[in-house]
Subunit: 203 residues, 2 copies
DNA sequence: ACATACATGTAATGCGTTACATGATTAC
DNA sequence: GTAATCATGTAACGCATTACATGTATGT
């Protein structure tokens, strides 16, 4: 149940609408959690009913916006959750599973999959790097909002842990890229071996 | 929908019962996919109904065992799935999310979480390494069963891709361990900074 | 006028977790 | 006799994906 805590964490930085939260929880933004609208809006309503957050209904002409702010019970719940152990799930990785069965398909197909994997995580890495740069340069609006009402030593903690979280994501992306490249080398050497069946495998 | 393909992949090596599949798809075994009984048995029944696999009902005394074997449509579906692009999901990592909010908890709590992360992935790495060793040593019964009726150049492909899949899992585990250690360093340097508030941060 | 961004939701379906439920065989 | 292993399931619940559904404000 991390979605609720991702939302609480964002609302802890600044009051926001569901729409704004949705933009941050989008794949392309680069937040360590993603979710679609269909999860966000009901979740906000639920947390409001539970007294974790509070909505202020604002009107822009005819349009209604519900701006949510975090309440003390919400902040307490967030702190409780952070300290709670991570519920590590069993290994479940479609890319690794496929790789282990690639003997079933042509080497060209295997190569395509590894290229797609590398490209996907290259894009991801770019996103994480941008976020890391923004945190370090002080150009992340959310983080700057959070830093405002904090004492100096709390600021250092805040920045250090934010960076740490994003570093984890970046490290993972780098590993995936590295693995995909390893896969491409494997494909290349198998191709070589098939072309010259009687030579010794150079890999 | 990778569970079905994990099952098909295993049945492609040798006919098996749901019970045997459950043991392999357990966290502690070290297969790149995990699943509980409650998913395995219904999945097998469904694939049987769809003609992808076939059950041979065997009797050991009073007890009934349903031994499933893969059929040609099942093998075809498996090959189709392997070549299909991986459906990459949005980033969703509770550990990274928590790390980015660790400013909310005591440094001791943060340290505990990183230690747990490191230990969890150390255990995982050990499991992956054992599987890699077994593949290389030729002591994996499943792989040996698979190798039997394959021509020599297909055998090389099989081993290379199996290793590649497991290497991916091992690389990931190593990265998680490294990240946890990075987190521990971060905690330690913050602790130092809090103890000697006027000194320059040595991190 | 038209496109884009703003803004909020519901419904259906599938995957994954946890708990519940039962009983036979084998080894000690 | 009793514990571990073999063996097969069902039920309830929650989280995630995709599709559906609607309408306003703003910039060009």
């Amino acid at each position: 149940m991390s979605l609720r805590h991702a939302l609480l964490g964002l609302l802890d930085a600044a009051p926001m609408t569901g729409y704004e939260l949705d933009q941050i929880l989008d794949e392309t933004f680069g937040y360590p959690w993603t979710a679609p609208r269909s999860q966000i809006y009901p979740s906000l309503r639920q947390m409001e009913a539970e007294g974790l957050i509070e909505a202020e209904v604002k009107h822009t002409g005819e349009r209604e916006r519900r701006e949510y702010r975090i309440l003390e019970p919400g902040r307490a719940e967030l702190a409780r959750w952070v300290a709670e152990p991570v519920p590590y799930a069993g290994a479940r990785d479609a890319a690794h599973l496929k790789a282990s069965m690639m003997n079933m398909v042509k080497l060209d197909e295997a190569e395509k999959l590894f290229l797609a994997h590398r490209d996907h995580f290259r894009q991801r890495l770019e996103i994480w790097n941008k976020r890391i740069d923004a945190i370090q340069a002080g150009t992340s609006p959310l983080l700057e909002a959070r830093l405002r009402d904090q004492p100096p030593d709390e600021q250092a903690k805040l920045i250090a842990f934010k960076l740490c979280g994003y570093e984890g994501s970046a490290m993972r992306a780098r590993t995936e890229i590295e693995w995909a490249e390893h896969g491409l080398v494997t494909v290349a050497s198998l191709r070589q071996a098939t072309r010259t069946p009687n030579s010794i495998d150079v890999a």
